[in-house]
């Protein structure tokens, strides 16, 4: 057994296995050795605390106790020094801890600690002062990074024929392509193998295409779809963009440690910097963070809490979250910085929906609801109306009925109107920029489609109801007025194209086994598709006009997903739009002429192509026929001199035979003679 002298590290006793013992003891003492005082350490364990109250000797003892209570949480305080001047403490103190790690803890946790209204502690390492003091006086201009020119990021909008683009993933995800939509046939803009590993997403104004990879996501844009930015987030599975396209939020279930929240990361798109990381318990309701329409705020809901953050600081608004006991769901108005949220019944307090203005946090409207089972919030796209779908079990009954509580956001004091529905609700959708909404209700096979108009005079009128519809989803055109009622998946792809200005069915059609319906951003075209992800055969996407006229059927091997590229908001003022609509006749003449020209050009191209193919085929057949003729003698020999080149080659050998065979029997009674 040897004892290691700490200072000399030489064993005092020499045994057979003295070196082994040295090693073992060294390991055992490793922890203690770590704490072994070194000369320089003395300074590393010291912190300086500023904004300490300046007190006289009579209150010093109390002050020291308070400081001690707060700061001994981080470690053992070995020394403390309270500098004085003119009988009062100067307002800053020095504290020495037993180890530098403890000093770091103190800085991390106590910096910013609010002692009282006038005193918020600032805590720094003593060595930091040194560091900052020794910063070179000479200013070195940071190296200029070469400007990465990605070209015109809005290039696709400048297409002279106003073609919108859409992305297509096919070959089960192996290939991704970008097409320009032309009524005749899609024009390929870009096509790459393995561009993404799972799926793709467009940014809200269409500037970027995001692709997913094991290591993170990549953003592509510009005329040639160059890589604009890359964000490293191992195992990323979900993303969300801020509406302004300034930030992107990524989620990965893999990366999360207690000290360094990494499950959700918010990135600045232009600089590529990581702005902030958050924990995340489950990604079940993505996006976890909901953005206000202008990108100024984002918020998330956790147990009994609503946390609202502001940009660009990424800090909590007013430095604290809102405590809302029982909060079940919330959503931002798409037009204003207003949050709607609802809480269920609590003992004798009824359930209620609240509208809160941000950043003032003023409650502009509260609505009590009774016997509530569940609520869903549906905002109209401009924020003009909020519909709260309330499922209730009225007192004394067993069943569940549904009410739509319609909040009129643009009217003083936000009046609420109620529409009672007898059936169970399958789907609900607001007209994007209007005051109508559509509801699918009932149970298969008696599903009804009802259209309501929220009128200015305080009434909500049922315009029309279609019964016995094969539909489970509603798709409004983004420009309003037109819509598609679709029976997706299990309803075998039944489609109904409706004009809601007079509630007429423009066309009823079918895309067998359709799984998705996507309107283009202008509302001119609709795409229905059968995704390989939901059905393994007949994978294709079909293009229709908004009136339901089928234009194209595009089969794609193992087609998975089609997404239209969004358009940025129009630069035209409402007056300018009015002017264009007035002069529309003038413009439409020019467009019609252009269309006719391109039609005939296409026919001519097709005719030329066919002619070339036929000529080539004929040439091949002629050559083959020549060889065939040359081989005739061989053929005769193989068949013992019998010429079988034509079916009637041996007409002389034919025998003609007439056969009668029974075809039919008909018995006609002649009646009593």
């Amino acid at each position: 057994m040897g004892i290691v002298n700490e200072n000399t590290e030489a064993p005092v006793n020499t045994d057979q296995s003295e070196s082994d013992v040295t090693i073992i003891l060294s390991e055992l003492l490793l922890d203690i050795l770590r704490e072994k005082p070194q000369e320089a350490d003395g300074i590393d364990s010291v912190v300086v605390v500023d904004n300490v109250p300046q007190v006289g000797p009579e209150r010093l003892e109390k002050l020291k106790n308070v400081i001690h209570k707060i700061f001994s949480k981080f470690g053992k305080i070995t020394t403390e020094f309270y500098p004085e001047a003119d009988g009062m403490t100067k307002g800053y103190i020095f504290l020495e801890y037993a180890a530098p790690t403890q000093a770091l803890e103190a800085v991390k946790n106590a910096d910013g600690y609010k002692l009282d209204k006038q005193h918020t502690f600032r805590v720094n390492l003593f060595t930091d002062f040194d560091k900052y003091m020794t910063i070179s006086d000479e200013w070195e201009t940071p190296e200029k990074q070469p400007f990465k020119d990605f070209g015109n990021m809005r290039h696709w909008i400048e297409d002279p024929d106003c073609r919108d683009q859409y992305s297509v993933i096919y070959e089960a995800g192996e290939r991704t392509a970008i097409f320009s939509n032309d009524a005749k046939e899609p024009i390929t803009a870009e096509e790459r193998a393995r561009w993404t590993e799972t799926y793709v997403r467009w940014s809200p104004k269409g500037t970027y295409l995001a692709t997913f990879h094991q290591r993170g996501i990549a953003l592509w844009g510009g005329e040639k779809f160059k890589q604009i930015q890359r964000f490293s987030h191992q195992g990323v599975s979900l993303i969300d963009f801020s509406p302004c396209e300034r930030y992107v939020v990524t989620f990965s279930p893999l990366m999360d440690t207690k000290e360094d929240p990494q499950a959700i990361i918010i990135w600045d798109i232009l600089t590529g910097q990581k702005k902030r990381g958050f924990h995340c318990e489950s990604s079940a309701h993505w996006p976890i963070f909901k953005w206000s329409h202008d990108g100024k705020f984002f918020a998330r809901m956790t147990q009994d809490t609503l946390s609202i953050y502001e940009t660009p600081s990424m800090g909590l608004l007013d430095k604290k979250s809102l405590k809302i006991s029982g909060i079940k769901d919330f959503s931002w108005s798409p037009g204003d910085n207003i949050i709607a949220f609802w809480v269920p019944e609590d003992k004798d307090i009824p359930a209620r929906v609240t509208l809160m203005q941000l950043p003032s946090r003023q409650e502009i409207r509260v609505r009590n609801l009774f016997n509530v089972v569940d609520c869903k919030l549906h905002w109209q796209r401009n924020g003009d109306y909020l519909c709260v779908k309330v499922d209730r079990t009225p007192k004394g009954t067993q069943g569940v009925v549904t009410n739509f509580e319609i909040f009129r956001m643009r009217e003083k004091q936000v009046p609420v109107d109620v529409v009672e529905m007898k059936d169970s609700i399958i789907a609900f959708a607001w007209e994007p920029n209007g005051s109508k909404f559509a509801v699918l209700h009932g149970e298969s096979p008696r599903i009804n489609a009802s259209f309501y108009h929220v009128k200015n005079n305080g009434k909500i009128e049922l315009i029309k109801m279609f019964d016995k519809q094969q539909a489970n989803s509603i798709f409004w055109s983004p420009q309003g007025q037109f819509m598609v009622l679709a029976g997706l998946r299990s309803m075998n792809g039944a489609l109904a194209f409706v004009d809601t200005s007079d509630c007429t069915m423009m066309n009823i059609a079918e895309h067998y086994m359709a799984s998705d319906v996507e309107w283009d951003p202008t509302g001119r075209y609709v795409v229905t598709s059968v995704s390989w992800w939901s059905h393994k055969v007949d994978n294709a996407y079909w293009l229709w006009t908004f009136q339901g006229r089928l234009l194209q059927k595009n089969n794609k091997d193992r087609f998975c997903q089609l997404l239209w590229r969004p358009r940025p908001p129009t630069l035209l003022s409402t007056d300018q739009i009015k002017m264009i609509k007035k002069d529309l006749k003038k413009y439409s003449k020019i467009f019609e002429q252009k269309d006719r020209l391109s039609q005939s050009k296409a026919s001519k191209e097709l005719v030329d192509k066919r002619r070339a193919m036929m000529e080539e085929y004929r040439r091949y057949r002629e050559t083959a026929q020549q060889i065939y003729q040359e081989q005739k003698s061989i053929r005769l020999e193989l068949r013992g001199g019998v010429d079988t080149d034509e079916l009637d080659s041996n007409v002389d050998d034919w025998e003609e035979e007439t056969i009668e065979f029974f075809i039919n029997e008909e018995i006609i009674p002649l009646g009593d003679l």
Binding site: M614, Y620, A624, Q625, R635, V642
Partner: protein, 331 residues
């Protein structure tokens, strides 16, 4: 055109073939039965009894004297066409997948499956040498080491056999030496059927990769491709028009949803030079396994998974049809 419905099989049809003159139509199926019918009215002439397993293939010689069948009962049998008598029984180690008479009718070839430890072989017997039949000794037996042969046809003069394989390859085997004369790798998945034009100068291959392709029989040059969105089970070339017909559909086990449309499975007609579809004929209740043109080109037949064989005589419009303006489907 109202089709003639032949009901003679209880399980799915595996192959149908017309004789050279077209008056007879042979059909074989998974129910071990081999039938022969008059193509003019669909009346059944007779049955060739003997196989104890699914019959995969059938062929008739140029003179309509002999009939050849291959079966999963590990035998290839030769029959007298008129009397139905079994003339020869050639036992094999595994199922016989494809068979055929050469141009002269003197040499038969058939391929056996890769099964139960046995390789895939392409066997050749000369019928003029009875010893070969008696001893069950082919004069040439070519082993196929990799992908098994799934369909094969003779060349125009009996000199080679063009065989399609499970992996989409087409190999041209010499019937004299057994060596591979030419190769073609145009399909990406299994070749389900190969049929020749009536003059044997070209053939069409139907594949699981959703396409059918036209090849020159001698050079194996790839001439045309016809694309669909379903696996193609069988394809045939019209004797008198620049048309091809294709039949297919997904495998029975992949059908999980019931369509409300009965008789949804269609035979599709393509223009041979333009590679464009111009017509479809509905009627089968299951995928179509085999299609064949009558040698005079005035009718065609199809055999389906539903066990029915349908004979269709073309309307006069079919022959006048021009693909110049917008496509007008017919039938």
């Amino acid at each position: 055109m109202k089709p003639i419905l032949l009901q003679g099989h209880e399980r799915s049809i595996t192959q149908i073939k017309y004789n050279r003159e077209g008056d007879l139509l042979f059909s074989v199926a998974k129910d071990t039965v081999a039938n022969v019918w008059y193509s003019v009215n669909g009346e059944r002439l007779g049955t060739y009894n003997g196989h104890t397993g699914a019959v995969w293939c059938v062929d008739c010689d140029w003179d309509t004297k002999n009939v050849l069948t291959g079966s999963a009962d590990n035998s290839c049998r030769l029959w007298d066409c008129e009397t139905g008598k079994q003339l020869a029984l050639l036992n094999t180690n595994s199922a016989v997948r494809t068979c055929g008479f050469d141009f002269s009718g003197n040499i038969i070839m058939f391929s056996t499956d890769k099964q139960m430890g046995y390789q895939c072989y392409l066997n050749f017997f000369d019928l003029r040498d009875p010893q070969q039949i008696e001893d069950n000794q082919p004069y040439l037996s070519i082993p196929c080491n990799d992908a098994k042969i799934t369909s094969a046809v003779w060349g125009p003069l009996g000199e080679f056999v063009n065989a399609g394989h499970e992996n989409g390859e087409i190999n041209q085997f010499s019937a004299k030496s057994g060596e591979i004369l030419k190769k073609a790798k145009e399909h990406s998945r299994q070749i389900n059927d190969i049929q020749t034009s009536v003059d044997l100068t070209m053939f069409i291959s139907a594949s699981k990769d959703n396409t059918a392709k036209l090849f020159d029989s001698t050079s194996l040059e790839h001439i045309k491709t016809f694309k669909t969105e379903r696996p193609v089970n069988s394809a045939a070339i019209s004797p008198i028009m620049d048309h091809v017909v294709m039949g297919g559909g997904q495998e029975a086990m992949e059908v999980t949803t019931t369509s409300t449309r009965i008789g949804k499975f269609e035979a599709r007609f393509f223009h041979a030079a333009y590679e464009e579809e111009f017509g479809r004929v509905k009627g089968h209740f299951g995928p179509i396994n085999c299609v064949a043109f009558h040698p005079d080109g005035k009718s065609y037949s199809s055999g389906g998974e539903d066990g029915y064989v349908r004979i269709h005589y073309f309307d006069p419009q079919y022959f006048d049809f021009e693909l110049e303006g917008p496509v007008r489907p017919f039938g």
